[in-house]
Symmetry: C2
Subunit: 484 residues, 2 copies
Amino acid sequence: MPFELRVSDLGSRQRLRSLHGQLRTAILKGRLCAGAKLPSTRSLALALAIGRNTVVSAYDMLISEGYLRAARGSGTYVATLNPGLAPQRESARHRLARDLLPRAWRTARPRALDQRRVRFDFRIGIPDLDRFPRSIWCRLLGRSQRRGARVEDLYAAPAGVERLRFAIARHISNTRAIACGPADLIVTAGAQHAFDLIARILVVPGRTVVALEDPGYAPLAAVFRAAGAHLVAVPVDEHGMVTKRVPPGAHVICVTPSHQFPLGGVLPIDRRLALLEYARRNGAVIIEDDYDSEFRFGDRPLDALQTLDQCESVFYVGSFSKILSPDLRTGFTIAPPWARDPLLSALQVNVWNCPSVYQQALADFILEGHLARHLRRVGREYSLRRKLLLDGLRTELSPWFTPIESSAGLHIAARVADGYAPEALVAKARRCGVAIENVADVAQWGSRKRAVRVVLFGYGCISQQDIAAAIGTLRNGLRQIHAN
Amino acid sequence: MPFELRVSDLGSRQRLRSLHGQLRTAILKGRLCAGAKLPSTRSLALALAIGRNTVVSAYDMLISEGYLRAARGSGTYVATLNPGLAPQRESARHRLARDLLPRAWRTARPRALDQRRVRFDFRIGIPDLDRFPRSIWCRLLGRSQRRGARVEDLYAAPAGVERLRFAIARHISNTRAIACGPADLIVTAGAQHAFDLIARILVVPGRTVVALEDPGYAPLAAVFRAAGAHLVAVPVDEHGMVTKRVPPGAHVICVTPSHQFPLGGVLPIDRRLALLEYARRNGAVIIEDDYDSEFRFGDRPLDALQTLDQCESVFYVGSFSKILSPDLRTGFTIAPPWARDPLLSALQVNVWNCPSVYQQALADFILEGHLARHLRRVGREYSLRRKLLLDGLRTELSPWFTPIESSAGLHIAARVADGYAPEALVAKARRCGVAIENVADVAQWGSRKRAVRVVLFGYGCISQQDIAAAIGTLRNGLRQIHAN
């Protein structure tokens, strides 16, 4: 069979129905083509570990329905369907796609995480799932699930469960010096979701100009590109976005002030004020992506743009993906009051709301102090990993890399030494079983990529022991590369 | 205080920080205006049930930061902030909203479920949450949660967990005669989410013409309106959409063939074939919304449009909201192959993917037979409720209502007798503690509403006992209304 049949895990009464349905599907969808010979009933029964009678019955049903034909003595074949009903895959695919889909969607392909196994995983954006306090979370989720959803929550206004908004507001007012209350927050299915909703209400296709950091967070650029905005790149230095290089005419400015993604700079207060002043003068808005600022290894955080803003021009976006688990799919935004109802309407059109049972559990998790405890605990661990990695980069790996100063986050950015091509180092590392990432691959979104020559070492999902081993492996491997 | 302060549930060390932050927020955001007098430290401490020293310290911090000022002997006041920093709510709201938001979003307001308590609840679209097999679900979710998410699942391609797609494909091939396999399915956060993603890839604003049933499912119209499509209404009779009235030039046709929403008709086979022929000839696509067809009280279902389609023109959309719980926020779509990558890309831009732990639990729930068992059990219960309600409508309530034939779903549509205004009957019912719904309110989406004169009685969340009582209550109440 050119496709998989699965029936063995079914009860005996369901097997026939399922086998019949799967074969019919395969014929209707063209996976089994007219004229194809089917396996004998005996061999198919053996292959599927089911009784032969079931296979005989399924074939008989399909013959009586006209999907199969039995040739006396020579076996069973897929029938030639009525031409009007036969699959017309290729032509339809091309015609409908060409006529109906806008070009951008027609050629779009989803990005997939590289699923190859890797011995030492320095990929970015993945926190330590083994340290996620799973048993506590299970208990809270179970409790919330047993309480169940109330009818009032089901199709309620989509801002999110009030108790969770209260919990988040208190959490970020403690950790991030953000001034907000529950009524200012909208719960989303992650930061990506918040960006997408904001883009949806702000972007007029072909007109809206959006300024983004380059290098920067490529999925954010993807959001605005999909919405039809005109994207402009703003360069980044060791202090984050070079705000004086924001071109005139930007309607939306996206920035990662507490820890520039991916280079790690902290935006100084004068640049923060300059951005706010730009917004005030030009009637622009700022999207403040505070993506992993909970992991800090130095000073107190500077005031967020959201806190400094007095003109209702800032959308603050936060997420629990990096501090707990991406699988929570929970983030939030603090939107200016004038944008709140439009955002909620967009959320309702899009997914109606986010599951309340999950939100209740997360509210408990925060309010009972588990989040703060978890952050202290993993913060200590990440800090040790970071130190190990920095030491390794500065000693054993210094011929190839120079780490860039930063005081927050879950990865270290490192400049590549002159004479080496970043892509060659990344490829060689991979062949040695070490996954590191090239900024040009994961954090540049423009069609013309400026040469950044920086690679990233994430330490979210690699143990201290593995970091030490990986540094040795990497050194031995990279020694085989010759500088130009 | 003109707003709520909450600190009593905090540990003593956090109280000061929290109180300080909440007061600061209130001042910065204009909830406490310049010149406002604060309560005395003694009275605020009493009101919050915390020590007076904490309040004194918070006031002192805010005074030192310039947010408050102490007038000797007369108390503490909110300081006049630097004019450049003072809140400018109204002007900013108007200017930014006017300059940046497209008109449709500027005036959008989220819809909220009426949260008033009601004695007898015939509202539609709400299944019986008390019969949701919560303990089984909790067990499966707990198991899935303990296994946890794997790194590979986190940022994986967004079609959904393979095991869930397999489970859904098998389930619908049994219950709905749908021919599909796991590779054809995309898991979404509910049917609404599927509609929204489809609209996102199909609609070219200002150009795409979308034909929708009227009366029909208003949130679906909201999706296409938000996407910028031109909407056209297609009338509905007792057999569902009047397909010969689909106007020429439609690019997308939305239809509820197995149980027209809200009138309940089943689309006959000739109309199904006519729709497919329209799509084939005009290069149009069909969105088949199979929203609650699992609850059937008669014949076997007709073949879905998706099954009959040979031109890759059908998007099939299903949901677990009605058959399990809306709070699962899980639905799916079977998209034509040419639309699959664009849809996945749109999903990734929008929310990245849906939480894998929930999906694993739902896969277990289906594959272990709990879904089929649940459907049989609640199907019996709904069938009894339906019968009771139909009997009541045909006897005690016959002066006002005539039920419309239908053989599926979770509600009954009933025509209002001549001489009575539907809105008057609905309002009177509500005053008697009975919530029923007017099609004009919940299922008409056009700006000019045709007079439909139908009301809806949902029986998803009302017990048999309450149905009987509600019918009596309703009869007594409606008797007080005089026909015109």
